[in-house]
Point group: C2
Chain length 112, copies 2
DNA sequence: TTTTATCATCGTAATATTGCAATGTAATTA
DNA sequence: TAATTACATTGCAATATTACGATGATAAAA
C-alpha cells in the first residue's frame, strides 16, 4: 500500500536502504560531488550550479542532512554545507559490507 | 512535479542514482543477501523467507533484473534467480568511485 | 529602519513506489 | 484432460517523492 514494511527486515537492512535513498537521486549525487570538489564547503551556489529551484535544492540538502551525510553551519546570512566524513565512513563500510558478501561467495563463474 | 529532471545531470550521475534505487528498499537488499547466502540460486522460496506477498516479491525481482543486478533462468516450472556478478562488479566500481572522491579530498578534520 | 540577500518551510500538483488480490500463463502431475 | 504448481502481469489503493511558487525568518547593507 505504498508503505514499506520495515518490521519484516533487519535493522541493518533498513538502515542500508535508508542511506541508499540518499544516492537514489541524481541531484543529491550532484550536490555531494560538488561539495567534495569545492572543498570550501559551499552553500547555495548550488542553485546556480544545478538547474533546480532554490526550494528544491533546499529540500535535497535537508534530506542529506537528516541522513547525516552532510553538515550545515551558519555563516552570516548564508550557510556552509559540507560532507560529514564520519558518517561517510560508516556508509562506505555498510556498502562495502554488502559488496563483500557478494565478492566472497560469488566469483565470476560460480553463479548460474 | 514528481518527475526527476534527468537532463540536468550527467549520464553517470543518473546511472548511479538509478542503481542506488536497487538498494533503496530493504526487501531488495534482503533478496540480494538471500541470493548470495544460498549460492544455489534459489527461486520463490523468497516468498516464505520474507513475509511479503508473491506478487510483491515478483515485482522486486523484476526491478533487480531490469537493472541487471540479477539473472533468472527457467528451471522447469520454477525459476532460478542469481546474482549477475559482472554487473555487480560495475556497480561496486561506480559506488567506490564516489566514495573515493570523498576520501581523497576530505579527511576527518579538513571539513568544516 | 528599510531594503536586500540567503535559506527554510508550507502548500500544492504531478509522478513514482509499494503492496496485494485477482487473473493469466506455462510446465508438471494426477 | 483436469488439476496443481510456480511465477508474471494487471489493476487498483495508499503512501512517498520530486518540484516549485509563495511566504517566513534572519542577518547584512543601505
Amino acid at each position: 500500500m505504498g508503505i514499506t514494511k520495515t518490521d519484516l527486515f533487519t535493522a541493518e537492512q533498513n538502515e542500508l536502504a535508508q542511506l541508499a535513498k540518499a544516492f537514489a537521486h541524481p541531484a543529491r549525487i550532484a550536490i555531494l560531488q560538488y561539495l567534495v570538489k569545492s572543498k570550501s564547503c559551499i552553500n547555495g551556489t548550488l542553485v546556480q550550479e544545478l538547474g533546480l529551484a532554490q526550494a528544491t535544492i533546499s529540500q535535497h540538502l535537508r534530506e542529506l542532512k537528516d541522513l547525516g551525510l552532510i553538515k550545515g553551519s551558519i555563516e552570516g546570512a548564508s550557510i556552509s554545507y559540507c560532507i560529514n566524513s564520519q558518517k561517510w565512513d560508516q556508509v562506505q563500510g555498510l556498502f562495502n559490507g554488502l559488496f563483500d558478501q557478494v565478492n566472497n561467495s560469488c566469483s565470476s563463474d560460480s553463479c548460474c
